[in-house]
Amino acid sequence: MVDETLAYRETKTRWFWSRPSRSLLPVRRRLARPAEQKGAPDSAGNARSAAAAMLIAFALFLVFESEGLRHFTRDLPGNAFTDILVRNADRWDALMQRLGPAQVQPAIRDQFERIRSIRW
């Protein structure tokens, strides 16, 4: 198979000012799911799915990055409401430390640092 990136076929000289800009538009036709190509996509449904996915991602962060939540609440301007957030963030982090998810980050970090510190 010829690697299309490295193969150098030039039937005519092409320069950056004569070549059209790259565009995602041709890709757009391929982006649609087969069923969607027949009509408009179910944008509302897809947006709901995307929102749900983002909320799941937030939930993962809450569980595994509870310490980050402590920092984030402390970054907020100080007032009665953020005081409540800070207290709850501290309690949540303590719970995640006890249950174990908060231990995952330091463990992964340690492994990563070990890899980083390997010398020739």
């Binding site: 920092h71 402390r74 100080g78 005081d83 800070v86 207290r87």
Partner: protein, 250 residues
């Protein structure tokens, strides 16, 4: 000339030798006194010294400036322990007291320059309470934290210099830094450190903040970055030169 005189008269020769020895002793004394007059106990010309720069991102600017300033000077070695966006207030984010001793034990510096506090104008949360910045309880607690940190960096053979915060573009931050500098000055005196103020060095002639000032070349240059706080390349050199002179290193 002295040698030719010796040939003519032994007594004169003896006198001249004594003069020579006396001159040499005088010269040696002058050099020693001169070196001491330039600094407190620093005599970079005689033996290598390690300068540790400790603090936040502005300390990093100072450290970089010191490195550039002394890059060709074999007798001065600059080591840095700087962490961006840290301070003495947000111990949840980074705890300086927990890590500073290890760094100092490892490098055993002769001089410690501390520049920290730029990120500290925020609420202190302690023992379930929130202390709003610059209120009396906040000042008391912050002073306690500064003192605790100073106890941790105090070392027998190291001279510690606490560098004050500079004026910045933000008026409210500048006001806060003035208050905090007073705390640093008080606590430094208590722990036998020397407080070095850089406040006036980076002000305009009218006494306000300016991004520009005299560089080491003797001309006006931009010394502060676009954020109105950190230092440009020229600014770092000016900052380092000023501090180095103030502590007797240059």
């Amino acid at each position: 000339m002295l040698d030719s005189l010796r040939l003519l008269d032994p007594a004169a020769a003896l006198r001249h030798t004594a003069i020579r020895i006396g001159l040499a002793a005088l010269l040696a004394a002058f050099i020693t006194v001169g070196a001491q007059a330039q600094g407190t106990t620093l005599s970079a010309r005689n033996h290598p010294i390690t300068v540790a720069v400790v603090g936040d991102s502005v300390a990093n600017d100072l450290g970089n400036g010191m490195e550039d300033l002394f890059v060709r000077h074999r007798n001065v070695r600059v080591v840095k322990k700087t962490r961006f966006a840290t301070g003495l207030v947000r111990t949840d984010y980074f705890n300086w007291n927990a890590s500073i001793r290890e760094f100092l034990n490892h490098h055993d510096p002769d001089v410690i320059l501390v520049l920290i506090g730029g990120n500290d104008r925020q609420a202190i949360r302690t023992k379930g309470r929130r202390l709003d910045p610059l209120t009396r309880p906040w000042v008391a607690e912050y002073q306690r934290r500064v003192g605790h940190f100073m106890r941790n960096i105090r070392r027998e053979r190291a001279k510690v210099f606490w560098i004050g915060l500079p004026a910045v573009r933000s008026d409210s931050l500048t006001h806060a830094y003035r208050v905090m500098n007073r705390i640093y000055r008080r606590e430094a005196r208590r722990y036998g450190f020397r407080y070095v103020s850089i406040w006036d060095e980076f002000l305009s002639p009218s006494g306000g903040y300016t991004s520009f000032g005299e560089s080491l070349e003797g001309v006006k240059r931009r010394l502060r970055k676009n954020d109105g706080m950190h230092f440009t390349e020229a600014g770092r050199l000016s900052l380092a030169a000023y501090v180095a002179h103030a502590i007797g290193l240059q």
